[in-house]
């Protein structure tokens, strides 16, 4: 099998013939052209791994032809052949996107290395593209689920804004799927092959958030033992998703505004500006306008973020989506738990549709996971869900603590006191669960009969 295909473009027949023969003896497939037009025809006719263009040709010269070849095959490595070495021609060729340039006559050793390197480069480029594509197929990103008019509107907005570079502000109650919408925007954007970096602004203290966002230089503060890239640098080429944007301090708001305006960052403890190219998508469950009025959020930052707003409706406002979502989660968790496909009993589905879902889609997702975990029947009965109490009804003066204790106790019983599993169902971490068990003095051996709520 030949090592690759080489296109030689030179108006000198001696060069074409001599170089062509040499490449053939080196086991390459060779095509030759004497001018730009036939070179373009040749490239359209068959695939080439590399093109060698003479810089000086009557009509279209090598530099100009290189640009036109790139229109046909943008990935084609082009090597410019020059009669004499000059910095000027080399710079011109490389600036125009040439892979390299080589001076006639060629040192055979140098030529072999150059060609092998260029072909390997092309193969690597293709491999990267193939892997990106496979990765995209394996992780197609989050899917927006829903057929309600409200959700259809959200999808339309996502499809409209995704291909642009506009900053998007996503609002909605906790658990409505703001990150899912952000992921959909990223996946549908030209930036999808680059990373989407998620920054939970509320989870970090001010100084840590600054270092997390902008990175830091070695020794800039205690504990900064090495230089670290900030999230904005990591998101270069992709999308930065700033969740819980309302939780950042006024100082960080001002830094963030500067980044969004200048597209430049300065690492904590650094002095040099670093160019960054990312698309900003922010989300909040608070009314930013109100925070602006109260002086807790900078108006200029608000306007910069609120270029395109998407409001996600709460689940109770789109109850018709509940069966779709419940079935989706049921299928997803059945696969995750290596269980056969499960069905939802009619009564259970009716109950899910009646429920108020204060925790929105996330609560539904957790409820389905938990129900699937404890259910051993072919169908999921209403009893598999913890909220048969009908929380839309007033809770008859029961204290929040009591409800929490009862709920935790019930989940612990259902999961056989497996703390990791129970914590997962409750969507809290193990430490929090452990502290709550201690606080409510819950014991496995205790009479842990589930109190019907």
């Amino acid at each position: 099998m030949p090592k690759g295909t080489v296109l030689i473009v030179d108006d000198d027949p001696v060069v074409r013939d001599s170089l062509g023969k040499w490449f053939e003896s080196e086991d390459y497939d060779v095509g030759t052209s004497s001018d730009a037009r036939s070179a373009l025809d040749e490239l359209a006719r068959r695939h080439y791994d590399i093109a060698l263009l003479d810089i000086k040709m009557p009509g279209t010269d090598g530099i100009e032809l290189q640009a036109r070849l790139k229109d046909v095959d943008p990935e084609l490595p082009v090597v410019i052949m020059t009669g004499y070495a000059s910095v000027e021609t080399a710079v011109k060729a490389l600036k125009n996107g040439a892979y390299d340039y080589i001076t006639k006559p060629f040192d055979p050793d140098e030529l072999v290395h150059l060609i092998d390197k260029a072909i390997a480069h092309r193969a690597a480029q293709r491999e990267v593209a193939r892997l990106r594509e496979s990765l995209h197929q394996i992780f197609p990103g989050a899917t927006l689920i829903g057929q309600s008019p409200a959700m259809k509107r959200v999808m339309e907005l996502v499809e409209t804004v995704a291909p642009t570079d506009a900053t998007v502000l996503i609002t909605g109650e906790s658990g409505t799927g703001k990150e899912v919408v952000a992921r959909s925007i990223h996946q549908l954007s030209p930036r999808r092959l680059h990373p989407m970096v998620v920054i939970h602004c509320g989870a970090l203290a001010e100084t840590l958030l600054e270092s997390e966002l902008f990175g830091h230089e070695k020794g800039s503060f205690t504990g900064a033992q090495a230089r670290k890239k900030g999230k904005f640098e990591v998101a270069d080429g992709g999308t930065a998703f700033l969740d819980e944007i309302s939780d950042i301090s006024l100082k960080t708001q001002s830094d963030l505004l500067r980044v969004l305006q200048e597209k430049e960052i300065v690492r904590v403890g650094g002095t040099q500006s670093i160019k960054v190219d990312f698309r900003c998508v922010a989300a909040t469950n608070k009314k930013l306008e109100r925070l602006v009025e109260e002086g807790l959020f900078r108006p200029d930052l608000y306007y910069r973020l609120n270029v395109f707003a998407i409001e996600i409706p709460p689940l109770r406002a789109r109850r018709e989506d509940i069966p779709l979502l419940a079935t989706h989660f049921l299928d997803k968790f059945a696969v995750n738990m290596n269980r056969p496909p499960q069905k939802m009993a009619q009564r259970a589905m009716e109950m899910l549709m009646d429920y108020n879902w204060p925790g929105n889609v996330r609560e539904l997702e957790n409820a389905v996971e938990r129900a699937l975990l404890i259910n051993r029947e072919p169908e999921l009965p209403p009893e598999a869900f913890p909220f048969q109490l009908n929380p839309t009804a007033p809770s008859s003066g029961r204290r929040l603590e009591d409800i929490e204790r009862i709920h935790i106790e019930r989940i612990l019983t259902e999961t056989g006191w497996n703390l990791s599993r129970a914590a997962r169902v409750l969507d809290i971490d193990r430490t929090t669960l452990y502290n709550k068990i201690k606080r409510y003095s819950l014991r496995e051996s205790a009479p842990n009969k589930v109190t019907p709520a």
Binding site: V14, V15, S25, E26, F106, D107, P108
Partner: protein
């Protein structure tokens, strides 16, 4: 099969006698050193100070391996160790860059003899229709410097030998 060895340039008689013996032993063919007057000057490039190997090949008789003490070139390359017609019967090799002196080292007659044998077998291989071989030990492996030439063995690999064998009957 009888291979004609043709010196192109002075001071090659002894070297060609040795090469004839080495080739006869490597290929089990008979070799005859000939002296045919050949005007090399038409192939000389004043600009480059080298001889154009393709032009010399055009002038040598069929069934000949020409050996030159001078540096050879083809227009697009700075030099060639040799050149051959693919599936033809003319080949040429140069000893110029096979000598240790070219690289500023002390002369080494045995090294030169071995390099000349390898380069001759390589160009003859092209005459037999062989292209470059992936096996770095095979004499048909591509080599553009003496370091890789020295790494090769003065023999065809089993795969290349099957192509060469019918020509040597």
């Amino acid at each position: 099969m009888t291979l004609r060895l043709l010196p192109i340039g002075p001071g090659l008689t002894e070297r060609l006698d040795a090469l004839a013996a080495d080739l006869a032993s490597a290929l089990r063919i008979s070799c005859k050193v000939e002296t045919v007057p050949l005007d090399m000057e038409v192939a000389y490039s004043i600009d480059r100070g080298q001889y154009y190997s393709t032009q010399i090949l055009g002038a040598v008789p069929d069934g000949t391996l020409a050996v030159s003490p001078y540096d050879l070139y083809v227009p697009i390359l700075t030099f060639v160790f040799g050149e051959a017609q693919l599936r033809g019967s003319r080949a040429i090799v140069s000893t110029w860059r096979l000598r240790e002196e070219f690289y500023g080292l002390a002369p080494d007659e045995s090294k030169l003899r071995e390099r000349l044998l390898k380069e001759s077998l390589h160009e003859l291989g092209h005459n037999f229709g062989l292209r470059h071989c992936d096996d770095w030990r095979c004499v048909m492996a591509s080599s553009h410097n003496v370091e890789t030439l020295d790494l090769k063995l003065p023999a065809y690999c089993p795969r290349c030998r099957t192509v060469v064998a019918p020509f040597l009957l």
